[in-house]
C-alpha cells in the first residue's frame, strides 16, 4: 500500500490554494466536467430512474457477492483464464510479481487502474527490476513527473499544457525527440510514438476493470484512448487487477451501469472503446495474450460490506463526486494524501489507512450534498462522512478544542433558561465589541472566521428577549 500523507492535509492546504496553475486547471476541469455531465443527463429522459436502477443492481450484487464471485471465477476458468485472490495489498503485489517473474518480464505496460495504485503495484515491480510503463496519457504524464493521480479518471488534471511541454522536453530526449513542443496535438502525438514501442516490447500488460461479469466471466473496460486495448492485446500475459466490488451479474446489468458511468464521468453517451476480455488467445487466434489472469482484491472491502459503509462499495469510480465538490475544486487531489481524492476518497481513505492518519478528510467537507446528488448510484456520501466523524468522536480522535467547545454548547442547549441568558449576554457583549461599525473584524475564538470575513454584530437583544416584550405589548 502506498504511504499515506493524509495527516499533512491541513498543512498542505495553503500551498495548494496559493498555486495559480492549480486554480486555473481545477476551474477549467470542473467547469468542463460539470457542463458535459449536465448536458448528457438532460438528454437522457429518466436518468433519475436509471440511477435508482443502478443502485439496486449494485445492492443486489453486494448482497449475493459470494455467489457472484464464485460464478465469475468458474466462468473465467472455463474461458481458459486464471483467477487469483488477494486478501490485501501485500498478497496482491506478491501474486502479480510472481506472474511477471514467471513471464520473465522486463517491461510491463499498464492501462489505468486505481486498484493498482491502491496496492502500490508500480513501486513493487520497479523494486524487482521490472520497468513499468503507464499508457493512459494522464497516467503517463504523472509517472514521468514522479507524481500520483490527482483525479481518478483524469490523473493529470492538475497539470497545465506548459508543464506537460516541459516534462516531455526533459524526458523524451533519450528517445530522440529533441524539439520542444507546445501544442497539445503535437504533445499527444509524441507520447503516442514513445508508447507505441512499449506496447510492442512488453511481456506483460496489466489493466483494471470497470465491471466483472459473473454470467460469462467477462472483464469490461471503458477507455477513450485505446491504450487499455493495446495493453491487453499486445503482451504475452494479460493481468487484470480488480476490487471484488466490481462484480455485476449479467451483461444487461453492466449496460445499465455503463450508461450511468460514461454520462456521469465525462458526459459521454458511450466511450470510444468498450471492451470485453474473455480470457487468453484461442488456438486459432492470430493475436492476443497467451495467458489471462484476474487478481481479485479484497483490501478492506469485506469489512465495508459488513459495516455501515457498505453503500460505498456501490461506487463505480466515475469521479462525478469530486468534479462537483467545491472543496476538491479549491485544493485539488494531492492534498488528500492517498490514492482516492474528493468525497469518495474522504470516505475510502480513512477506511483504508485509518482515522488517525486521515482524520481531516471527513471533516474538510461542508456536507453540502452536491456529491450525492450527482452520484450515479446515489451513495449517501455526506452521511458516510458524518459517520466517520462519529467514529472519530467515539474513539476520542477529534480535537480536544472542538470537543470542549461542543461540550459547552450542548450543555447550554440542554438548559433552556441558562441558554436564553447566555445568548442575551452574548448579544450585548458582541454588540459592544463591534461598537458603531456594526461588525466585528476580530472575535475571540473565531479567528478562522474573522481572518477573511467580518462578523456581523448582533442587534444587542436576542429574539427571545424582544419576543417577550412584544408579547407583553400585545397583551396590553
Amino acid at each position: 500500500m502506498p504511504t499515506a500523507a493524509s495527516h499533512l492535509f491541513k498543512q498542505r492546504v495553503p500551498a495548494a490554494l496559493a498555486d495559480r496553475d492549480l486554480k486555473a486547471a481545477m476551474d477549467k476541469a470542473q467547469d468542463g466536467f460539470i457542463g458535459k455531465r449536465e448536458q448528457a443527463v438532460s438528454q437522457y429522459p429518466g436518468f433519475e430512474a436509471l440511477r435508482e436502477l443502478g443502485r439496486e443492481i449494485k445492492d443486489h450484487t453486494l448482497a449475493h457477492l459470494d455467489f457472484y464471485l464464485d460464478r465469475y471465477e468458474r466462468q473465467v476458468q472455463r474461458n481458459g483464464g486464471h483467477v487469483h485472490w488477494a486478501r490485501n495489498s501485500n498478497e496482491a503485489r506478491t501474486i502479480i510479481l510472481d506472474l511477471c517473474k514467471r513471464a520473465n518480464a522486463r517491461n510491463v505496460t499498464k492501462g489505468k487502474s486505481m486498484v493498482s495504485e491502491e496496492i502500490g503495484l508500480n513501486g513493487a515491480l520497479e523494486e524487482s527490476g521490472i520497468a513499468v510503463h503507464e499508457t493512459d496519457l494522464g497516467e503517463y504524464i504523472i509517472q514521468l513527473a514522479g507524481e500520483t493521480p490527482s483525479h481518478i479518471i483524469a490523473p493529470a488534471l492538475h497539470k497545465t499544457k506548459a508543464q506537460v511541454s516541459d516534462l516531455f522536453h526533459a524526458k523524451h530526449q533519450r528517445y530522440g525527440f529533441h524539439q520542444r513542443l507546445t501544442e497539445a496535438p503535437a504533445l499527444v502525438n509524441e507520447a503516442r510514438q514513445v508508447l507505441r514501442r512499449r506496447y510492442l516490447d512488453a511481456e506483460v500488460g496489466i489493466t483494471g476493470a470497470n465491471f466483472l461479469i459473473a454470467e460469462n466471466g467477462s472483464n469490461m473496460i471503458v477507455t477513450n484512448e485505446g491504450n487499455g486495448d493495446l495493453t491487453r492485446t499486445m503482451a504475452k500475459v494479460h493481468i487484470v487487477t480488480a476490487g471484488i466490488e466490481k462484480l455485476v451479474p449479467t451483461l444487461e446489468d453492466a449496460t445499465v451501469l455503463l450508461r450511468l458511468l460514461t454520462r456521469s464521468a465525462t458526459g459521454q453517451e458511450f466511450s470510444a472503446y468498450t471492451t470485453l476480455s474473455n480470457g487468453p488467445r484461442r488456438e486459432e487466434d492470430p493475436d492476443g495474450p497467451d495467458e489471462y489472469h484476474v487478481v481479485l482484491v479484497d483490501n478492506v472491502r469485506t469489512e465495508m460490506l459488513g459495516n455501515e459503509f457498505r453503500s460505498m462499495l456501490r461506487c463505480i469510480r466515475c469521479g462525478a463526486c469530486m468534479n462537483h465538490c467545491p472543496v476538491y475544486g479549491a485544493v485539488g487531489g494531492h492534498v488528500y494524501g492517498w490514492v482516492y481524492p474528493g468525497p469518495m476518497g474522504s470516505v475510502l481513505t480513512p477506511l483504508n489507512v485509518g482515522l488517525e492518519e486521515a482524520g481531516d478528510l471527513p471533516n474538510a467537507c461542508t456536507l453540502n450534498g452536491r456529491c450525492q446528488s450527482v452520484c450515479p448510484v446515489n451513495i449517501p456520501l455526506p452521511d458516510l462522512l458524518r459517520r466517520l466523524r462519529r467514529r472519530q468522536h467515539e474513539t476520542g480522535l477529534d480535537s480536544r478544542y472542538s470537543r470542549a467547545a461542543l461540550r459547552l454548547w450542548t450543555a447550554l442547549a440542554a438548559r433552556p433558561a441558562l441558554y436564553r441568558r447566555a445568548m442575551q449576554w452574548g448579544a450585548v457583549a458582541m454588540k459592544r465589541l463591534a461598537g458603531r461599525r456594526g461588525r466585528l473584524r476580530r472575535f475571540p475564538l473565531a479567528g478562522g472566521w474573522t481572518r477573511s470575513r467580518d462578523m456581523p454584530a448582533p442587534a444587542g437583544s436576542t429574539f427571545q428577549t424582544l419576543y417577550t416584550l412584544y408579547k407583553e405589548g400585545r397583551r396590553r
Binding site: 477549467k28 476541469a29 429522459p45 429518466g46 430512474a49 457477492l65 455467489f67 464471485l69 460464478r71 474461458n79 485472490w85 486478501r87 498478497e91 496519457l137 494522464g138 504524464i141 483524469a154 493529470a156 497539470k159 497545465t160 499544457k161 506537460v164 497539445a184 504533445l187 499527444v188 503516442r192 508508447l195 507505441r196 459473473a214 467477462s218 477513450n224 484512448e225 485505446g226 486495448d229 493495446l230 492485446t233 451479474p249 449479467t250 451483461l251 444487461e252 446489468d253 449496460t255 445499465v256 470510444a272 472503446y273 468498450t274 471492451t275 476480455s277 474473455n278 487468453p280 484461442r282 486459432e284 487466434d285 492470430p286 493475436d287 492476443g288 479484497d298 469485506t302 459488513g306 457498505r310
Partner: protein, 218 residues
Amino acid sequence: MTSAREDILDRVRTALGRDRISSDTRTKLDRRLSDPPSYERPGLGEDRVHLFATRLTAVRGGFRKTDSGHVMESIADCLDRHGLERAIIAAPALEHLSWPADWNVSFGASRGDDRVSVTPCFAAVAETGSVVLLSGPDSPTSLNFLPEYHIVLVRAEQLLDHVEDVWEKLRSTGAPARTVNFITGPSKTADIEQTIQYGAHGPRSLDVVYISTLQECL
C-alpha cells in the same frame, strides 16, 4: 491455513450475516443469470440508420452509405479523404471481396506499422453509434488498434438498436470470442487541459462503410 479464496468468501458471508446461500436463493440467482433481466432501454425515436450515423459522426466517426456493388468505391473514397495510398491490411474475413488488382492489399494481423486497416464487424449499435468486432482468425484484434486509419464494413442486417441486442446476438453465437470490442469513433484523449485530441493511441480516424440491403437502395 485457509486459502485467500476461502477466506475472502467466508468474510463476505460473515459480513452479510449469513451462511452459504440457500438452494432456493441459488435457484433464483441461477435463473437471473440464465435469463437476464430486461430493463427499460432508452427510446431511439427515429430511423435506425440515421440515428447510427448521427451518433457516430457526433464523435467524429465517418459514415458512408453504399450498396454491395460499390464497396470498393466507398473504401477508395475514405482513403482519398485522408490522402492515403491504396495500401491496406485487411481482415482475412474480407479476402473474398473483389479488391482492385492495383491495390496493395494484405490479410492478417497487424505488425504495428500499417497505415490503414479494413475489417468487417459483428454488429453495429444505433443507440451509441458503435461498431462491435469480435476477435478471431478472421478478424484479428490488432487491426482495430495498431493502424492509423480504420475502415469498418457494416452490413445493414448487422445494425441493431441497443447495446442489449448485441448481448442477445453474442449469446446465440456459442462460445465467447476472446475479445469483444465496441468502437465508437476514433481514439481520443482529454488528458492535456481537458481538451479533446484525436489519435491518442489507437486509430486517428474511424470510417464506417454501411452497406445497404437491396431493399433500402430501392
